[in-house]
Symmetry: C2
Subunit: 447 residues, 2 copies
């Protein structure tokens, strides 16, 4: 197995000269070069990049993480960036140019050749997270009245410009997408066969406006490696390849998890503790504010707590259960929204199912806590209050966890927000309110 | 755009006859047929499948979710399953056969043709989550001394058996992998060119034993659509395609999120509330047990709480902060392990960074809570105890959140477990201990 192309753990000498490091990297895959360079400091990284030829350094750049890429771009002159953009496929070029400030962006664009500039400008007008924002303009397509020989000639010309040609797209006289065929058909068909006769007319395509999450969903559902993108009138304008979709899937998963814990993936590349602290603080502040509300609620029930101090002991059980049940429920609802987008008919059924599950957990855990508290403290009335309100809290938490994602979606907010601190904090406060409320009602019986 | 092939929201009449439904599904993509059928009940689903030809029904089966697939397989006769396995690619066939109980599995295997049986038996011997477990045996490869014309003839023969041929692999006389070339080269090269002269000798491959997560990492790093799999001696034994990798990435993301909230993705297809409740209970029980430990701790400090009841009010703030900080820290550490596997040298640095961030958050939040409690309750000593111990709790929680993932990895447990209930529960208990401990030390000053 030729291992030279894959050196995951290459360690460079940070004291080495740029040219000796560049030599060490010779022949490696650009992704490996990028991974090795990311560990060098900014000046050395740029010096090594300068030692590489433009094509390699362009390929390396797009494999750098966003943070390192920004640093490098900030130091390059606009003609150098223009050279790099020229080497890249249009979608990568648009990503690089899109990272520049407005005036530098215009400068770089003015230094591109007409064709490249037109493509990059076109791609920059789409939303980052839409199909238009992730597609490349380079594609291989031809009219259905052409022949297999024409297609082969076309590929010969395009081979330089378009990486990874998997499929050839077929259009009508007005460049509307009407079919597709895999390269394999070209290998097998006779050279004078009409394209219209070997193409597959059922082609899965997306519109430029489609959200990247929906595009990823289609790739995964239909097992695609590339997908054509059309404008609203059906005209072929670009294609998306599966490597970009893998990035989208990673991004979306990271986003979901980050939303859940109140941090951001780009933290990983952030050196300043101050800035990381600032990223995480908002979520912590929400939690602290919620905790203070809980304190207000508890203060309101001071009298009950003074009479039966043991009530206070079980506040952590109540908040832990409310938080956990709420999070389990909201997570499963949000995941089900992800996996069955568009299927709305079963909302009532799903809520009812969550409620049945919560009822069962409420009965089991309520009974367990009732028994434990009863035997432990010997007060079966206190045990009944703790166990009973715990069951109530579980039901309330499950209801909130299930309803809030639908409510958020209803008003156009990403339902994944429900997995964040809001539901948990709300459940903490409501849980203590339910618990101490029930306790003070039944308190006469206890004391 | 020909939309017939893509009908995401097709709704079938659940009262319709199997044959009328089968007719409605005619010409749709198998993934869409599967999505529509999943909403039918088991008997009707099987009746509709029986109306489809074997090839279509095999393709539909592998697009069903696991739950529906299991139900269908349970009702099919072994010769029918053998027919379906024959239609499928070897990796899908192995997945289907692997789902059967031992005796039915042997029966089905004995009904396959020799070549198919050998392939499926070979694939079944690998771990589910290894490269061997997700690879297919069908691949297009030839000796480096053959010509382009030989390769074209080979593809002509293989086109029936192997879906999605992207690359042709090149081997030496002992079937060791020595290179690869994309189909495009065949279209462009002369027919008598020697394969060894057009192949790319640097080929990224994995071994059968490689964990699927590492395989996915390589696909995403090197932007691949297919990857060859070799045995320990470098002999080519299979290939993995990117559609399977997309499934792996989804699986791993779902696993991570499920670990965090204590539920499982397959819940979504689980009809019985009882079974769902059983899936979720263990996590809730851990939380409840932790809560009871907290209650023990609080009871231990009864005297202090009786003297200054207001101490109890701030228990929810303490537990919320400990839980949040611990989760943020463990999540970012686990994510950084995912994205930089193999890079261990920076552990100390990373811990130190987390600690600096925690210190900053501890100072900010501690001061804020100190001021709020002071103004609110007018007791600046109590405020100092609450604010000071909150800062301590944040530092403890960050330390646990950062150290536990490394500790888990050290003893061979998935570090993602650290994002589950353990760290949060531990932080709840420790937080209350720190808080009330500090309070009782300084209590003489307060009262």
């Amino acid at each position: 197995m030729p291992d030279r192309a894959r050196e995951e753990n290459l360690v460079l000498d940070p004291q080495g000269s740029a040219s000796s490091i560049a030599e060490q990297l010779q022949g490696l895959h650009p992704a490996d070069i990028a991974a090795a360079l990311e560990r060098l400091d900014g000046d050395l990284l740029r010096a090594v990049l300068a030692e590489l030829d433009t094509e390699t350094s362009a390929d390396v750049l797009i494999h750098l993480d966003e943070h390192a890429l920004e640093e490098v771009l900030a130091e390059l002159e606009t003609p150098e960036i223009a050279d790099i953009a020229t080497e890249l496929e249009s979608d990568d070029a648009a990503d690089v140019v899109g990272m520049l400030e407005d005036d530098r962006r215009d400068e770089v664009l003015s230094q591109l050749e007409d064709e490249d500039r037109r493509q990059v400008e076109h791609l920059l007008q789409y939303e980052d997270e839409s199909a238009g924002g992730i597609m490349a303009s380079e594609l291989v397509y031809l009219n259905r009245d052409k022949t297999v020989a024409d297609a082969i000639e076309l590929i010969r010309q395009a081979a330089e410009q378009v990486d990874d040609i998997h499929n050839v797209y077929v259009t009508d006289g007005t460049r509307r997408l009407v079919g597709v065929f895999p390269l394999r058909s070209l290998v097998l068909a006779h050279s004078n066969t009409r394209i219209g006769d070997i193409m597959e007319p059922d082609v899965v395509s997306v519109s430029t406006e489609t959200d990247q999450e929906d595009v990823a969903h289609a790739f995964s559902k239909y097992d695609l490696v590339a997908m054509p993108v059309v404008d609203p009138s059906g005209v072929l304008v670009g294609r998306i390849t599966v490597d970009d979709i893998i990035d989208v899937i990673h991004e979306e998963a990271d986003e979901d998890i980050s939303l859940m814990v109140g941090t951001r993936e780009d933290e990983l590349h952030e050196e300043s503790s101050m800035r990381i602290s600032r990223i995480r603080l908002p979520w912590l502040v929400i939690g602290a504010a919620g905790g203070l509300c809980s304190a207000l609620v508890m203060r309101h029930f001071s009298l009950s707590l003074e009479r039966v101090l043991a009530l206070a002991f079980f506040v952590p059980v109540i908040t832990a259960m409310g938080g956990n049940v709420g999070l389990q429920t909201s997570t499963i609802i949000v995941r089900s929204m992800h996996s069955e987008r568009g299927l709305n008919d079963a909302v009532g059924e799903r809520l009812f199912k969550e409620w049945r599950v919560a009822l069962m957990n409420a009965v089991v855990l309520g009974a367990a806590i009732w028994a434990i508290v009863g035997f432990w403290l010997g007060s079966w009335q206190l045990a009944a209050v703790v166990g009973g309100s715990l069951s109530m809290v579980i039901l309330v938490a499950a209801t909130l966890g299930a309803v809030i994602p639908y409510a958020l979606r209803g008003v156009g907010i990403d339902p994944a927000v429900a997995q964040g601190p809001f539901v948990t904090t709300l459940n903490d406060i409501l849980g203590i309110l339910v618990y101490l409320g029930m306790a003070s009602v039944f308190l006469t019986a206890i004391s």
